[in-house]
């Protein structure tokens, strides 16, 4: 028990220090920073996201031409991976996380760039969309996960999975084979066909597969897709959400 507590405190401190360090080297968002960001963008991002950030780079032409997801359109498209409410722009930290971690099966992680370089490229990416000017997005409160899940909690998570309609898209057992998916009814905001995540595969959890990342996805939704935000409609029902999170994680554990 003591070891678990120490590990939890250690993990928390590690996350905190990474976040603090990332912020510590964050350069001011000015012309010089954006110009440096452009140099990185042109060699690392342009191929998919295009010279003007419209998601129409030479490789982007082939990616998601007939099926979602396409490379992100930075000029006005929706951002899937956020800690902000649905319809809002992401926090800088959200962009930093995506650039650093990448998107499994879709975008490589760019942790090889220095933190300063990642911030520079983020400043440049933001310059494609005028909406970022003068707007200060506000993140939802995302609490730390409670203690290890109990069997009763996971059982409640299964009930919550049905209550929240997750099976409509993700299927009764989380394989991504829900009725709406099989009927071909799921499309992104461009009208392109889309497959829901296979919850039995950790790599399918594109916004991260930690308990906190799953909680974030459920509460914020994934804009641009049919996955809705649950924060407003179930606000204050944290226990059910955490039980749901641990139930979903148990689906991939069983498979492993």
């Amino acid at each position: 028990m003591r070891i678990r507590i120490l590990l939890a405190i250690g993990a928390g401190l590690a996350m905190l220090s990474i976040a603090s360090l990332a912020n510590a080297v964050k350069p001011e968002d000015n012309q010089e920073t954006r110009e440096k960001g452009k140099q990185i963008y042109d060699r690392a991002c342009l191929l998919c996201h295009g010279a003007n950030g419209k998601g129409d780079g030479p490789a982007g032409w082939f990616i998601g031409r007939y099926e979602s997801p396409r490379p992100r359109d930075f000029t006005g498209g929706s951002y899937k991976f956020r800690s902000t409410p649905s319809g809002e722009l992401p926090m800088d930290q959200d962009l930093f996380r995506t650039v650093t971690q990448g998107i499994p099966g879709k975008m490589p992680p760019y942790g090889g760039l220095s933190e300063e370089e990642r911030w520079q490229v983020i400043a440049y990416i933001k310059s494609f969309n005028r909406s970022f000017k003068g707007v200060k997005p506000t993140a939802l409160v995302l609490p730390n996960p409670p203690g290890p899940p109990s069997d009763a909690g996971i059982e409640n998570g299964r009930k919550t999975y049905i209550k929240y309609g997750c099976q409509n898209c993700h299927g009764d057992n989380g394989y991504g084979d829900g009725k709406e998916a099989l009927d071909g009814n799921l499309k992104d905001t461009y009208g392109l066909m889309l497959s829901p995540g296979d919850l039995t595969e950790r790599a399918s959890l594109k916004n991260g597969s930690s308990a906190q990342a799953l909680y974030r996805s459920i509460m914020t939704g994934l804009d641009g897709t049919p996955m809705p935000s649950y924060a407003d409609t179930i606000g204050g029902n944290d226990k059910d959400v955490w039980d749901l999170v641990y139930y979903i994680l148990s689906l991939s554990q069983e498979k492993q």
């Binding site: 929706s78 319809g87 929240y164 409509n168 049919p226 809705p228 407003d232």
Partner: protein, 258 residues
């Protein structure tokens, strides 16, 4: 000198002094009455009543298709086995088209007055339909989303291929209140029930109206001059016309989809 003359029964004031007094007292009394008397109307200063009013009808004389019957694939006990979809509602007697949205664009060089929206926009999920099906609203208005059904819906609002809002509407869940932050056509859909669709047209200025069952509309407060008037309908599309608006009076205009 004047006091003495007054006591002697002569006029207390000279004519000039009386005029002077009246010139001050009469306006004071008039203003006082105007301020508190319910019998005297306060001057109408708003552009709505002093400016021109554009009234008219949106017409459609073409063939009106029968409602489409869609087979419901889930939650039949709530939604019913079939869903009747009417996308073109025309009054047979007048050819008036319902649920068209009419907007008078600002004149050249005009800026929006930045009016704050006070009327909320409702998106009610009821019996597997969005109510109302069409509505027009001012930017910044509060949108209230509610689910009356005992099944889950989601309200996914898309503007120009981007998510403006996508919220789960769990059965018995909270009323959701948000602000409309984008202007333009808001396409509202439910991903759980694919036949659930609705529209909200959002404008930066207040010069719009939605047609009634007989296709009528009325828009007040537009500045005099040349304006473009646009009509939007979910299946008939967008129609435009130029309109000369006088300084005062009523402009009558019929707009017909051909």
């Amino acid at each position: 000198m004047m006091v003495r003359r007054s006591m002697a029964g002569r006029p207390a004031m000279s004519v000039q002094a009386l005029i002077c007094l009246l010139s001050v007292a009469v306006p004071v009394v008039m203003i006082g009455l105007a301020c508190w008397s319910p019998l005297i109307a306060a001057p109408q200063l708003s552009g709505e009543s002093t400016g021109p009013v554009i009234v008219g009808r949106v017409l459609y004389r073409g063939t009106v298709p029968f409602p489409t019957q869609i087979q419901v694939n889930r939650d039949l006990d709530v939604c019913g086995a079939t869903m009747s979809m009417t996308t073109l509602s025309v009054d047979a007697a007048t050819h008036g088209l319902q649920n068209a949205v009419v907007h008078v664009e600002l004149g050249a060089g005009e800026m929006s007055a930045g009016i704050i929206a006070s009327t909320p926009v409702i998106v009610r999920n009821k019996q597997c339909r969005f109510h109302p099906h069409v509505a027009a609203a001012l930017m910044g208005a509060e949108v209230q989303i509610v689910n009356d059904d005992p099944v889950m819906h989601n309200t996914n609002i898309i503007v120009e291929n981007s998510t403006a809002l996508n919220v789960a509407m769990v059965a018995g869940g909270n009323l959701i209140k948000k602000r409309l932050k984008k202007s333009g056509l808001h396409f509202v859909k439910c991903n759980v029930h694919k036949f659930m669709q609705a529209y909200r047209m959002v404008f930066d200025d207040p010069y719009f109206d939605q047609t009634t069952e007989t296709g009528q509309f009325s828009i007040a407060g537009v500045s005099p001059g040349l304006h473009r008037i646009t009509v939007w309908h979910e299946t008939l599309g967008v129609m435009e016309k130029e309109l000369q608006v006088p300084a005062r009076g009523t402009v009558i205009v019929d707009l017909e989809y051909k």
